[in-house]
Symmetry: C2
Subunit: 193 residues, 2 copies
């Protein structure tokens, strides 16, 4: 299969429609990576700067909520930062991808590189989903509380804190959706080779 | 690459060492799937039958904790059940894999099937990790409580409930580790073709 495609690739090197589609896929890949990086950056920043101190206090206690009180939120910030960092670094390779059509040296090397990139994105998707689901279960309790466990909904008091947490979840889920599209695109791009 | 391997496959059909390794990989795959299915089944059952009623009550309230009070635990049970179901169903294909060496008809079809199986396991891994991390963040709060949010550690009261929840997490993490080994094995098996 792959052996056959080397010849096909060599033959179609001068056929412009195929190269146009490949370039289009590369540019979409590039744009999706920027959007996903922005979404994870937004999530990490929104959650990482999330703290609220209530405007009243007793003699001994100040009521304040900070994201690093909750390990799930810390994991959320770390995971989104890692994914954002990876996506920004991978943009370099994406640029190389877009301009490569004129400079194909070793097709096997490029296929190996693409496969590596797809798998890296899959790992990043796993990380984002794990972080988002851990944070979601906390945000859910913060909103609704839990009767059995006697955990109160803290969103009535810590209103800003809750809204910011919920908002940053949305960014993370958008990033997950973008990464899924990115994986599908990569599969299409690899199977075209 | 793949084109070349078809000939190699044809040539080595009568060479027993290569086929022995392939058969070994298939059997390991089979055993790992059974173990992972058992781990997820154990997790799902341990969590799904998890409820505790405290031996005292007020006139209006009976103190009881059930897994379906917490949506994260419900997600955990569902995800582990789905993964267990998939693994059990996939055992049929694994048996086919072990006996296939004598009945190779279409190698391309088998490669496509293997690729599909690897990707299915990756999706299952994502599901298990998402469910485990959601449940972990709840179990963590149940054990330690959270001072900022005024959520109490409920494990002092609901001792059995907590121990069962924590135990079922372990099963899920073991399943995740087994699935990762399964993916690595599959990659090795596919790259040998």
């Amino acid at each position: 299969m792959k052996g056959g495609s080397i010849e096909i690739g060599e033959v179609s090197k001068n056929a412009s429609p195929g190269r146009g589609v490949a370039k289009g896929l590369s540019i979409m890949d590039f744009v999706l990576r920027i959007l996903a990086a922005a979404a994870t950056l937004g999530s990490a920043l929104a959650m990482g700067t999330n703290d609220e101190t209530l405007p009243f206090a007793t003699q001994f206690i100040r009521f304040s909520a900070e994201f690093d009180d909750l390990p799930s939120f810390v994991f959320f910030v770390l995971a989104n930062s890692v994914v954002c960092g990876y996506l920004v670094l991978s943009l370099v390779l994406s640029v190389f991808h877009i301009v490569r059509s004129s400079a194909v040296k070793s097709r096997i090397f490029l296929i190996a590189l693409d496969t590596l990139r797809v798998n890296a994105v899959k790992v990043m998707l796993g990380l984002v989903i794990a972080a988002a689901s851990a944070a979601t279960s906390i945000v859910y309790i913060a909103h609704g509380g839990n009767v059995g466990a006697n955990w109160f909904a803290i969103c009535q008091q810590y209103n800003d804190f809750c809204q910011r947490s919920s908002g940053s979840l949305i960014g993370s889920y958008i990033a997950a959706a973008l990464l899924i599209i990115l994986i599908i695109l990569s599969v299409v791009a690899v199977s075209r080779n």
